[in-house]
Amino acid sequence: MSATLDEIAGTFATESPLLVAKGVTKSFWGRTGLFKPRAENRALDDVSVTLREGEILGLVGESGCGKSTFAKVMIGLEKADSGTLDLGERRIFAPGERALPPAERGIQMVFQDPYGSLNPRMNVHSILAEGLRIRGELKAAEISAEVRRHLELVGLGPDSLTKYPHQFSGGQRQRLCIARAIITRPRLLIADEAASALDVSVQMQILNLLLDLRDRMGLAIIFISHDMAVIEYLCDRIAVMYRGRIVETGGAAAVVDHPRHPYTERLIAARPRVGRRRTQRQEQDAESMEAPLAPGASRCVYVERCPRASEICHTEAPPMEQRAGTAFACFHPLEDRGDPRPLA
């Protein structure tokens, strides 16, 4: 199974993908100090992603890397500065064209905090029915039937219908959020850290629910997380983001087993793992106070933290290179784990 997934990884896709994002760019303008001029902070820099029907893509990166901004741009909570997004035959946005309104995009989202995403004054039936009511395509009885069906789909009984969000546990609330997201039949579900706030013993239930929905409905999912262990469990493919750029992408197993980009390797090494004890870590002060990346900066985004950086990394942005099922943007990629190519 993983071999075929590797083959179609990245731009190796043979059948036409469901989602195609090309060159998506988004900047925020802000001041770093009261008397400083407004400066451009590029949150997304030329982000391109493809996703097939029924595929789960893990978008991994640390806080501030742009992964949530990318999600917001896709569902329409933020507007991209440039780039195109297509979902199936639907053109979501493109330069010079009117962007599709969020409700017509066929993309739904589930957030990290199920407590903050549900209206405490609405009961479960109203919460789930709302999206369908607004569309006005179904009669009341049909809506009720859909609500019941989707409650069951996420593993909640009909006795939940008249309850309110505070009567549910965190895991159950996340199930409600998922039911609300899928009831309008989206083709793409974006889950932004959707399992991170849950108890460890409940997290796996939610991950398995997402797998079920993919299997049963052919739902495509973009799962945003900082947790490599969760990503590896859930996802077919991985895209690693750093400071607004995708630095590596490919089949999940290929990327985890043979990371090419030094940042990917670092993320994987940092993942806590049962079965490993007191390995000697690189002793380094990893954190430098990074200034916002200047737009169009011609250098590698990871250059400040990279142990392999050379002169060219400071003066040129590395292009995406493809090798054995993965694509990466690095001048000095790792050959295989523990066997790095000599520095140029």
Partner: protein, 327 residues
């Protein structure tokens, strides 16, 4: 055999619930922390892990009615000592760091001012000696340029840097015990690994005892000497880290380990644990985990279950897994 640094004996904590009802949210907690030991206390939400930490510091929220049992530390019983005894001990004998470092730092003071204040409060050092001591500490938590950090304000530092400043601040009066309550949860993964590594090396290299509180068993496995697993306000299992992880005796410990996501081979799923963590008001007599346990037996729900010795660890289970599951 060395004497324990901290010895908790049959600790129970009662709180007042909304509406006035009295609830015991933590009970029958007994464990020792040895000098230089990295002791991990693992529990999910509502297990009482933070309450135990706060009981040691005696920084209790208002709804706490009373504490039973004892917390022995350096000849004192922290559970019942008065404020005049506790005040000089906090910071100089034991100190604590929290999940969100920003809320523990004063945004209007430089790091130098904040750290100096902590030293001056106990009056052990001053002037040049104090400054040198603070710079040494900042280097010990792996700042490349401690001088620059001293001049900084909290908002100029990243989350991981702030947490390292908090560690330095907690250690500024050379306490014997550091209580760390989910100190890495709010941090990015690569930074989380670094902060954890720093705390572990302080225990290893400087003989500091650490009580590390976390919801994540996989996080502490690399560094902990001893692991205690908490569920529903009671200890379920306690023993040497390696023994507990590699051969868990309690079905809950074993199930928690099975919840750590791994790669799926041929699409096979991991099960997770059925149901949800029970809230205090739903606790029933007998084992608190019984409702979710795959090995449940009639006697599990009949009455209190003792925390007893079993081979190399202690376990609270009527039918422990003698043959541990592979970790």
């Amino acid at each position: 055999m060395t004497a324990p640094l901290l010895s908790i004996d049959r600790l129970a904590i009662h709180v007042r619930q909304e509406g006035g009802a009295r609830l015991k949210i933590v009970e029958d907690i007994s464990f020792d922390i040895m000098p230089g030991q990295f002791f991990a206390l693992i529990g999910e939400s509502g297990s009482g892990k933070s309450m135990i930490a706060r009981a040691i510091m005696r920084l209790m929220p208002d709804e706490v009615l009373d504490i039973e049992g004892s917390i022995r530390f350096g000849g004192h019983d922290l559970a019942h000592a008065g404020e005049s005894i506790l005040r000089p001990l906090r910071g100089s004998q034991f100190s604590m760091i929290f999940q969100e470092p920003m809320s523990s730092l004063d945004p209007l003071m430089t790091i130098e001012r904040q750290l100096s204040e902590a030293v001056e409060a106990h009056g052990k050092r001053r002037g040049v000696a104090m400054r040198k001591h603070i710079l040494d500490l900042l280097a010990r938590v792996r700042f490349r340029n401690p001088e620059q950090i001293l001049r900084s304000y909290p908002h100029e530092l990243s989350g991981g840097m702030r947490q390292r400043v908090m560690i330095a601040s907690a250690l500024v009066n050379e306490p014997k015990l550091l209580i760390a309550d989910e100190p890495t949860t709010a941090l990015d993964v690569t930074i989380q690994a670094q902060v954890l590594d720093i705390i572990a090396s302080l225990a290893r290299d400087y003989g500091l005892s650490v009580l590390f509180i976390s919801h994540d068993l996989s996080l502490v496995y690399e560094n902990a000497d001893e692991i205690a697993v908490l569920y529903g306000g009671v200890l379920m299992e306690q023993g040497a880290a390696r023994a507990v992880i590699e051969r868990p005796a309690h079905p809950y410990t074993s199930a928690l380990l099975a919840c750590v996501p791994r790669r799926r081979r041929d699409g096979a799923r991991q099960e997770g644990i059925e149901g949800t963590v029970p809230s205090v008001s739903d606790w029933r007599p007998g084992c608190r985990f019984a409702a979710r346990c795959a090995y449940r037996q009639p006697q599990c729900t009949e009455g209190d279950i003792a925390f007893r010795m079993l081979e190399d660890r202690r376990v609270r289970c009527v039918a422990p897994l003698l043959e541990g599951m592979p970790a």
